[in-house]
């Protein structure tokens, strides 16, 4: 094919009015060189405006080139959107990173349904288990509110629990969200609560700034616990 293209190109150079442009343009089209093929076909059609075969060839190549450009534009848009999503997800996962004092601490922001909005919850192997934790905590705010209402305890401020490997604390946020922080068992409870307060404040600011264009995060990574 390459030899034929070279031969037809030379022939067309010698005889610009030759109809060999049809074969040359068709061969270039078949090779996927649509821009060059269209240029040659269009130039041939200009020299032979009554040639229906040349017009059909121009139309076909132009159509294919348009589809290719459209596809390329769609791919570019998809890549850009994917890049923006990755950047947004990465930013969300780092929501509390600068507030954490060491690698034994982790913080997570959940929405009212238990979906992860920001931060990470890493287990001892460094695996983000935020989604699993969120799923298990789904609805806990509502039940706490009902409990405190029945007991006349007023608004709840925090829920803290100790486990074999860590201490975990959580507080409600605006828009019925939940901030969950965890730290190693050696972390003083007062320090954990201070960290929780700072994370709640960060979450409130972040929620206020991103309301409307945020969406639940589905993955992420950072190292922690126990």
């Amino acid at each position: 094919m390459a030899d034929e293209i070279r031969r037809w190109s030379e022939e067309l150079a010698r005889e610009p009015n030759s109809l060999v442009f049809l074969q040359l343009a068709e061969a270039l089209r078949a090779q996927g060189q649509l821009a060059v093929a269209l240029k040659i076909a269009q130039r041939g059609l200009d020299r032979h405006p009554g040639n229906s075969e040349a017009r059909a060839l121009v139309d076909r190549i132009a159509s294919e080139r348009g589809a290719e450009e459209t596809a390329q534009q769609a791919l570019a848009a998809l890549a850009a959107a994917s890049h923006m999503d990755s950047a947004a997800e990465s930013a969300a996962s780092r929501l509390f990173a600068d507030l954490l004092l060491d690698d034994d601490q982790t913080a997570l922001l959940l929405d009212e349904s238990g979906y992860v909005l920001g931060g990470l919850y890493l287990d001892g192997d460094g695996v983000d288990v935020g989604q699993d934790v969120g799923a298990q905590l789904s609805g806990i705010s509502e039940e706490i509110v009902r409990s405190t209402r029945h007991l006349g305890l007023g608004d709840w401020r925090s829920l803290t629990f100790e486990t074999e490997a860590a201490v975990v604390a959580m507080s409600p946020t605006a828009q019925q969200g939940l901030v969950v922080v965890a730290a190693s068992r050696s972390t003083p409870l007062g320090l954990l609560r201070r960290l929780l307060e700072r994370c709640v404040e960060r979450a409130a600011n972040w929620l206020a700034g991103t309301s409307g264009d945020r969406k639940p995060r589905t993955s992420g990574s950072r190292r922690i616990l126990p």
Binding site: Y121, D123, G124, D125, V129, D132, V133, A135, Q136, L137, G139, I140, E143, I144, R146, S147, T148, H150, L151, G152, L153, G154, D155, W156, R157, S158, L159, T160, F161, E162, T163, E164, A165, A166, V168, V180, A182, L225, P226
Partner: protein
């Protein structure tokens, strides 16, 4: 066993600032035994069910994070606290005033847990 449970409830209820103490089944949220000062009957049963549910959610979230068993849970609110410890299916729940000494309540809850074992 029932007299043992009553003894646990009585000891917890004697702590200063304790408004209620309950032993609850985590599985179904039913009251096993209780001493309530904020109301009787349905109210206590609702609180028991909700407390058991909160404790269960905490335990399951700890499982999800591979943090091991939950040993002590504390809910702080504007006008009081709820503390809980659990073993097997039983959860000991104490509702206390904001001024109550949580440290002492915590100690008593763990002692009570030993009694249950």
């Amino acid at each position: 066993m029932m007299s043992g449970l009553r003894g646990i409830i009585d000891r917890l209820s004697r702590q200063r600032g304790v408004r209620a103490s309950l032993i609850v089944s985590e599985h179904d949220g039913l009251v096993v035994d209780s001493s309530l000062r904020f109301g009787e009957g349905e109210n206590g049963e609702r609180v028991a069910a909700l407390a058991a549910s909160i404790y269960r959610k905490a335990r399951l979230s700890a499982d999800a994070a591979h943090l091991g068993a939950v040993s002590f849970l504390q809910l702080d609110s504007d006008r009081g606290r709820l503390c809980a410890v659990g073993r097997d299916d039983l959860v000991l729940v104490v509702v206390a005033e904001p001024s109550a000494n949580v440290g002492l309540i915590r100690v008593e809850l763990f002692k009570a847990l030993e009694t249950l074992a």
